[in-house]
Symmetry: C2
Subunit: 218 residues, 2 copies
DNA sequence: CCTTGTTTTGAACGTATGTCCAATATACAC
DNA sequence: GTGTATATTGGACATACGTTCAAAACAAGG
């Protein structure tokens, strides 16, 4: 996916230029994730990236193109990790419903926790895009292909159940996953405890979703 | 909760004035729900309400006050319906975990489907506020008191389990509920079916969440 | 009808926005 | 070095924003 569409160049971008590009997109990622599309101005991005305003347009195209690129940049890697995990699990032997959900949930959950601040920001961005109807087609392009594969896998595992049940399972699981990423503080607040450990959160999330999935599909 | 704080009047507002107020807040509710806070301008609201720009400020105060009021306006009624459902269920006999979740989920789910277009918009607004960290304290004020009661109820039902498990149960359930409201089209899309019936969606949601809750709490 | 308080209008304020363009600076091929 | 394509700067553009205010229209009590 090109940063600017129809970009015809005679020379390859310099190393410095590529670094600037990255700084701009990283800044956009953080701000779009934190404040949303409308809450983030091109000037905010320029300031965050420590760069002149015109440069944001020069490297990222107009605002909406930059947003699309920012969302799409890591979408491929995320999907790849999910599908890879699924393939590896399949190679090991027969799949269970729990395996399928784990392969879908774990990559984003782990990256958001241990993939550094940019992946943490990106996970929030995924939640933002998934929640807003305005980005519906963008979300379909970026995330639905992988999601379809996982629904297919669930259907293959439980061929006597309707596809609607598998689809609902995945959507509820995604929503709980994104809630875990964006609102784990809320669980802590309602629990009256201070910052429950990550592995405990992960276990609760997977237990909840696996049980729900088995109820719908068994 | 007053629309404008510290409003000192010598006369009661006229019927026409009250109707204008309602038109403005209803318009704000629709637009804030559809486009978010930053995506909605005061002029958008004025146009949607078919009213002069200055009137929005006059009736609603500044933008943030209007937003707070819009979110808060139906929060009380929603919480009341939830708590009422819980009390009625308790009066009937011993509660189950499934009962508690149903009492929490059903009011918003039913209102969003059968409460008219304004409640449908409000349900989306709740999802928007719940998802965005920026409205964290607003969400706490509007929704946490009722949520706490439901966590308390789960804890009372399963006193040997940690409060963190009950809190996680409720957060995951809320996220799935909001996903159901805002993204049921996504379930349909992944399922490859056209508009599954509301009652079927409701049953899938409750089955999923109840199973997850029982796994975490039993 | 006239007074008084409220609702509505019209229009302006300063500021922020996205986008664009001429200019300068930089990097690289020859 | 010289020339050329790219990267960066500075600054402008029209438009949109939230907010404010004086004046006009309105409602109601005396």
């Amino acid at each position: 996916m090109p940063l600017k569409p129809n970009e015809t160049r005679l020379r390859a971008p310099s190393a410095r230029s590529l670094e600037t590009r990255t700084r701009i997109v990283d800044a956009a990622e953080r701000l779009f994730a934190a404040r949303g599309y409308d809450g983030t101005s091109m000037r905010d991005i320029a300031t965050e990236a420590d760069v002149h305003v015109g440069l944001v347009s020069h490297h990222g195209g107009n605002k909406i193109a930059l947003f699309h690129y920012t969302v799409g940049r890591r979408a491929g890697e995320l999907s790849q990790r999910r599908v890879d995990a699924l393939e590896q699990m399949k190679a090991k032997g027969d799949l269970t419903v729990a395996d399928v959900l784990r392969c879908f949930v774990d990559p984003l959950l782990t990256l958001s926790q241990e993939g550094g601040p940019q992946w943490r920001a990106y996970a929030r961005l995924v939640a933002y895009v998934s929640a807003d109807d305005r980005w519906r087609t963008l979300a379909e392009v970026c995330f639905d292909p992988a999601a379809q594969k996982f629904v297919d896998e669930l259907v293959a595992l439980k061929p006597d159940r309707s596809r609607a049940l598998a689809a609902a399972t995945l959507v509820y699981t995604v929503s709980a996953l994104l809630a875990q990423i964006t609102s784990s503080w809320r669980i802590d607040a309602l629990a009256g405890e201070r910052s429950i450990r990550f592995q405990q959160h992960r276990k609760m999330l997977l237990d909840f979703c696996v049980a729900g999935a088995e109820r719908l599909l068994d």
